[in-house]
């Protein structure tokens, strides 16, 4: 897994950047029998932009209920399950009681003991827990420093992201 390098100058929502070297874990994932309740939604690349646009289209009350972390290529919004926005391709994340420091995909379970995975990932993340884990796109995102989403800052992030190659 690799840690995204956040561009701090353009990411007023985000957690601190991390530039730690990629850590590789031979972890496979399989569909979860019973999904985790969603606590966050994440988008990577074009999905992150779509997620930001969708979030900006929400009314102030809904937007204010979310907190977020943004990187140069991704956006994570945290909030109550019933309020989280939807865009095609977004990944919903929840907390497994056996690995409370991680936000794991609601519908996927690691094929290693969650507690072991948690220990390994937290040890690799200099920014500390909790960590959002996006196995399919390979991101590990520290979300502990998530900030309430402000419309202007999210719009500025979107504009910058749309402008970047």
């Amino acid at each position: 897994m690799r840690l995204p390098r956040f561009n701090q100058g353009r990411v007023p929502l985000s957690a601190r950047a991390s530039s730690q070297a990629p850590a590789r874990l031979p972890v496979t994932w399989s569909p979860r029998m019973e999904p985790l309740p969603a606590l966050a939604v994440a988008g990577v690349g074009a999905v992150a932009l779509a997620l930001a646009r969708r979030a900006l289209a929400a009314d102030d009350a809904r937007l204010g209920a979310w907190s977020g972390v943004a990187g140069s290529d991704l956006l994570v919004l945290l909030g109550e399950a019933h309020s989280l926005p939807w865009v095609d391709g977004a990944v919903y994340l929840g907390r497994d009681g056996a690995a409370p420091s991680l936000l794991l995909p609601c519908a996927l379970a690691p094929e290693v003991a969650p507690a072991l995975l948690e220990r390994a990932l937290v040890a690799h993340a200099s920014d500390g827990a909790p960590l959002a884990v996006l196995p399919r796109s390979g991101f590990l995102v520290p979300v502990g420093a998530a900030r309430p989403v402000a419309r202007e800052t999210l719009a500025a992030w979107l504009k910058a992201a749309e402008g970047s190659p």
């Binding site: 029998m33 900006l56 399950a81 990944v91 919903y92 519908a107």
Partner: protein, 390 residues
């Protein structure tokens, strides 16, 4: 005109879907009333007052099409308030007969709130009604047409004599107040109940066709799986009396019949959870039987099957049903309700995406998801211009 098994199952399924509409978090209860009615068993609902228990039973009774009797019992309730007054003309002739018109002995569906507050005389008479479908009082002896009795209480009784009475209710469901995230739905659903719409109604004939099919169904193929489940429960310390273990087969057969199956299979084992007598026992049973109940599915009783099994197929059925309902309720172009409707649609696809890995999304949901995606993406809300230019 005789009703086919398939038609009976379909008509009950439609009627139950209408009965549950607007009742937030009570869909499983509605379905369990019907399941118990088909099985010829009784249901006990445990939960605090004001949780729409009686509304759920009332609506189900209407959906089933039978005559309905409802009463709130208290310490001072007289037997005549439940079973009917003594017939004074007959009394002059020296016989104690009960005039049962409009009372419990003539009901096909009954709801007794605070059932454990009944006096000994009431509970003793009720025992005969529940067990043998026979009403005995004074000189009156009559067979009762009761298909299902739903008892409700705030909690399970601790006294041994009442516990024995409570044991006559094979199925049990524990209800809680509607959770915070669903309060908006509760308010909207509650308001919609005041505007009584056209609800489809099955018929007692449909109920009886299914009940007969359940009685005649071949339980042999599912029995080894049920025995395995019971052994698993015992190994986990979950007490289920032999009587309950035997009688749960009636619920399983009824679940299969309501799903349109003549032969019960592993998909129909889930009612076992509701036969576990305590709330804690049911929660533990769900955990230890999770793998066995993963095959659970029942299009007519989607909420009850899902609540019991937490299985993916039952979950997919419930989401699909909710999604189709939301899609069908599209407001007209330009209507004020359009944004709220879109949010509901988003809620449906969010539940799909949070609940299933893309490769594990059941076929039924794939098509529905695509349909909703198209709707959401063709008229997506615009980002306010001022913000977009920030």
């Amino acid at each position: 005109m005789s009703l086919t098994f398939e038609d009976a199952a379909a008509s009950l399924r439609d009627a139950l879907a209408d009965a549950g509409r607007g009742l937030v978090e009570r869909e499983a209860m509605v379905e369990l009333v019907a399941l118990s009615a088909v099985a010829g068993e009784h249901l006990l609902v445990i939960g605090p007052p004001g949780t729409a228990k009686s509304e759920a039973v009332r609506r189900t009774a209407r959906a089933l099409g039978g005559s309905y009797f409802e009463y709130l019992l208290g310490r001072f309730t007289e037997p005549s308030e439940i079973f009917g007054p003594v017939d004074l003309r007959k009394l002059r002739e020296g016989t104690v007969e009960t005039e049962t018109t409009g009372m419990l002995p003539e009901a096909e569906v009954a709801f007794l709130d605070e059932v454990f507050l009944g006096s000994t005389a009431i509970l003793n008479t009720l025992l005969g009604v529940l067990n043998e479908r026979t009403f005995r009082r004074g000189h009156t002896r009559m067979k009762v047409p009761l298909r299902v009795c739903v008892g409700a209480s705030n909690g399970l009784p601790e006294e041994e004599s009442l516990a024995a009475f409570a044991d006559r209710f094979l199925a049990r469901i524990f209800v809680e107040p509607v959770p915070d995230p669903r309060l908006e739905e509760l308010l909207a659903g509650g308001a919609s109940l005041w505007r009584e719409g056209e609800a489809r109604v099955a018929s007692l004939q449909a109920l009886d066709v299914l009940a007969r099919a359940a009685q005649e169904s071949d339980l042999a193929p599912v029995r080894p799986h049920l025995a395995h489940a019971l052994r698993t429960l015992r190994a986990s310390g979950i007490g289920l009396s032999d009587r309950r273990a035997v009688k749960v087969q009636r619920l399983i057969a009824a679940a299969a019949a309501l799903a349109g199956r003549r032969t019960p299979g592993v998909a129909d084992l889930w009612p076992l959870i509701y036969a576990v007598p305590t709330k804690e026992g049911q929660a533990l049973a769900r955990e230890v039987l999770r793998e066995l109940l993963a095959a659970t599915e029942n299009p007519a009783l989607a909420a009850a099957a899902l609540e019991a099994s937490a299985g993916p197929l039952a979950r997919a059925q419930r989401i699909a049903r909710a999604g189709r309902e939301v899609l069908a309720g599209r407001p007209g172009e330009g209507a004020e309700e359009l944004p709220a409707w879109r949010l509901k649609l988003e809620g449906v696809v969010r539940e799909m995406d949070a609940g299933f890995a893309p490769e594990a999304l059941p076929t039924e949901l794939q098509a529905l998801r695509e349909e909703i995606r198209m709707v959401l993406e063709t008229d997506a809300p615009a980002v306010p211009a001022a913000v977009a230019q920030a």
